[in-house]
């Protein structure tokens, strides 16, 4: 039976090779397949949906541009769209402005103290988004902590409605929610600056201010741009915050998109609005990537 076993051995070898090839194919299929299935296909579905249309509560599966025409022709939506972009740009700018000193302060701290502080900044990110908004809304409310504090300090006499159910509230709440997202990229970019560049600057005679202005700030710009992009993208996709604290004046694009799915059941129009929003986000990311990455690389 020696010949037989030799033969079967050879056959096993071929099977093994085929099995290995199959494994290889499976891995490749998984690596490329999962992102395609879970990212690309939904996005494409959205894109296709945005060309369908709804009339009289019924979906029509023929392609049409009417959803897009409706957006660009309808003055109301377009105005809200612009207002939302401006709002989110403002949030991004302010979050970055607040986050920078925080991150700068953190780079100066060492050891356990630092990891504790970074954790403190990160912990809110683990909390439920809605609970955070609820909490912030009660702080900003007319009977809330902020008003009580201001009245306690004698800065105002009657509770101010300046902080809640308007665009200020959306801005303040989004700031509070998104600042941690801005701190991290800035912190990373600051920490990536080699210490010896700071030494070199001082060695060449620069004072602290000059070193900050000419070395630290420009070198941390990629982080700043990343932070701003991050916050902008998160803010513009956020419909919950405006919904919950925006009141009647703080109406944003995200709320319109949301209502098309949750309330109006006009998925195609919602999809078209989402595609437009997606376009804005892609532009933001491309602009961020262009101005954020230093084209000179690192020496």
């Amino acid at each position: 039976m020696q010949g037989g076993s030799g033969l079967s051995g050879r056959r096993e070898g071929a099977d093994g090779r085929r099995w290995r090839a199959l494994q290889q194919a499976l891995i490749v299929a998984t690596v490329y397949g999962l992102p395609v299935i879970f990212v690309l296909v939904p996005l494409l579905t959205f894109l296709v949906y945005s060309f369908f249309w709804v009339e009289g509560g019924a979906m029509h599966y023929s392609l049409s541009l009417q959803n897009y025409l409706r957006f660009f022709a309808g003055e109301a939506f377009f105005r809200v769209f612009w207002q939302t972009i401006l709002l989110c740009l403002g949030v991004a700018a302010m979050a970055t402005l607040v986050a920078y000193p925080v991150a700068y302060f953190l780079t100066g701290i060492k050891g356990r103290m630092k990891s504790t502080l970074v954790m403190l900044i990160l912990v809110p990110l683990l909390m439920s988004y809605i609970i955070k908004i609820y909490a912030l809304r009660s702080i900003l409310g007319a009977n809330g902590l902020l008003n009580q504090l201001l009245m306690g300090l004698g800065l105002i006499d009657t509770p101010s409605s300046f902080f809640v159910f308007n665009l200020n509230a959306v801005m303040l709440t989004q700031l509070a929610l998104l600042i941690p997202f801005a701190v991290l990229p800035i912190l990373l970019s600051l920490e990536r600056i080699p210490r010896n560049l700071l030494e070199a600057s001082t060695d060449l005679g620069a004072g602290g201010g000059q070193t900050f202005l000419w070395v630290i700030l420009p070198m941390s710009l990629p982080g700043v741009v990343a932070a701003a992009t991050f916050v902008f993208v998160l803010a513009i996709g956020d419909f919950l915050t405006p919904q919950m604290v925006g009141g009647q004046a703080g109406f944003t694009f995200g709320r319109i998109v949301y209502s098309q799915f949750g309330i109006a059941f006009n998925w195609p129009f919602g999809a078209a609005l989402s595609v437009i929003l997606m376009g804005v986000i892609v532009i933001a990311i491309v602009v961020g990537a262009r101005y954020g990455s230093s084209r000179r690389g690192t020496a």
């Binding site: 109301a76 809304r137 009660s138 409310g141 007319a142 409605s161 809640v164 919950m244 209502s259 109006a264």
Partner: protein
């Protein structure tokens, strides 16, 4: 429509129990009920079983969609009788999933409150002269909640919402479909669920005018309660009726609830027989059993909803209740609502 959240949990438990009960083959007649939690309590079922000698199997459902799915899935054959909202009922009748009810088999229906005793006057439950459902529970959900300290005397009309005195102190519900119906009532339009284009324009203007009084729009009961607690709110345009009032009172609010002179949007839950009913007589006995004064009063006691037999504080006899019906164009209402919110 308007439902209690914790129903879902009880449904899970009830499903498990009913699975156990379903095991032994029934020699006696069997009544298969699909019900909302609170409409087929254990003690009633037991009493009914003793009285009739039948076995009763109850499946609790948690949403309108679930009822529809179960009914469509079995073409009405899995159940004899089901509880359904009057606004929803139309599509079951349209789909032929119901069986008309023989009123003679339900003597207790004769003794119901004036607003329910003549079923032809109850919107949406008769078709072609035949009764397709018997009203069982209701609530005037769309009334007006007011803060007793801030609003005096007790308001009687919804028009108070537009009173400049309450600028920034009005809490409105964030739903275009209901808001159009509601405003149509305020403006005295006869059919708030079927509006003409001119009526739409008028309502839109009226709602935009309301915006300056509105602090914000709330999306659910808890949301509304929390906003009330943290802000200076005087008037709330309700959407969850008694439940909402109870929740706010539990949170320490000193509030009152009125059904305004224009009428309030309300919901009405009914019992209907399925097209696949096997024990029609038994099903009609079940309805009759529930319309007993004692049982109906218990239901009100336990749920806080109004019943059709005894007077409760849900509504006075002359209060105007408008049972919500499907609207002519939900998409249009939603779009217009967005435009109203987007308006400067």
């Amino acid at each position: 429509m308007i439902r209690i959240n914790n129903r879902f949990l009880s449904v899970l438990g009830a499903a498990a129990v009913s699975a156990l009960l379903a095991a032994p083959p029934a020699q006696a007649k069997e009544l298969r009920i699909m019900s909302w939690q609170g409409y087929a309590d254990d003690d009633w079922v037991k009493e009914f079983e003793e009285k009739t000698g039948a076995d009763v199997e109850v499946v609790f459902i948690a949403s309108d969609d679930e009822i529809w799915a179960k009914m469509m899935g079995s073409e009405g054959k899995d159940f004899d009788i089901f509880a359904v909202n009057s606004a929803q009922l139309q599509r079951y009748i349209d789909a032929g999933l119901t069986t008309p009810i023989d009123l003679a088999a339900i003597p207790n229906q004769q003794a119901t409150l004036p607003r329910f005793s003549n079923l032809t006057k109850v919107q949406g439950i008769t078709r072609d002269g035949k009764v397709h459902a018997i009203p069982f529970a209701f609530d005037a959900s769309g009334g007006l909640i007011y803060d007793k300290d801030k609003v005096q005397p007790t308001p009687t009309s919804m028009s108070i919402l537009w009173d400049p005195k309450y600028q920034g102190k009005v809490l409105a519900y964030d739903n275009g479909e209901y808001n159009f119906s509601f405003t149509a009532l305020v403006m005295g339009f006869p059919d708030p669920f079927n509006l003409s284009p001119e009526q739409y324009e008028q309502i839109k203007a009226k709602l935009i005018a309301l915006k300056s009084n509105v602090l914000t729009f709330y999306t659910n009961m808890d949301d509304g309660t929390q906003i009330y607690q943290n802000n200076d709110v005087a008037l709330i345009w309700a959407n969850f009726g008694r439940l909402q009032v109870k929740a706010m009172e539990a949170a320490g609010a000193n509030i009152g609830y009125i059904i305004p002179s224009e009428g309030a949007l309300a919901w009405l839950d009914t019992w209907a027989l399925t097209s696949g009913v096997k024990e029609k007589e038994l099903a009609e006995q079940w309805i009759n059993f529930l319309l007993d004064k004692k049982i109906s009063a218990q239901m009100s006691e336990r749920t806080g909803y109004g019943n059709t037999v005894t007077e409760t504080d849900v509504a006075n006899p002359d209060d105007k209740l408008i049972y919500v019906e499907p609207v002519e164009n939900p998409t249009l209402r939603s779009d217009l609502w967005n435009e109203i919110k987007a308006a400067p």
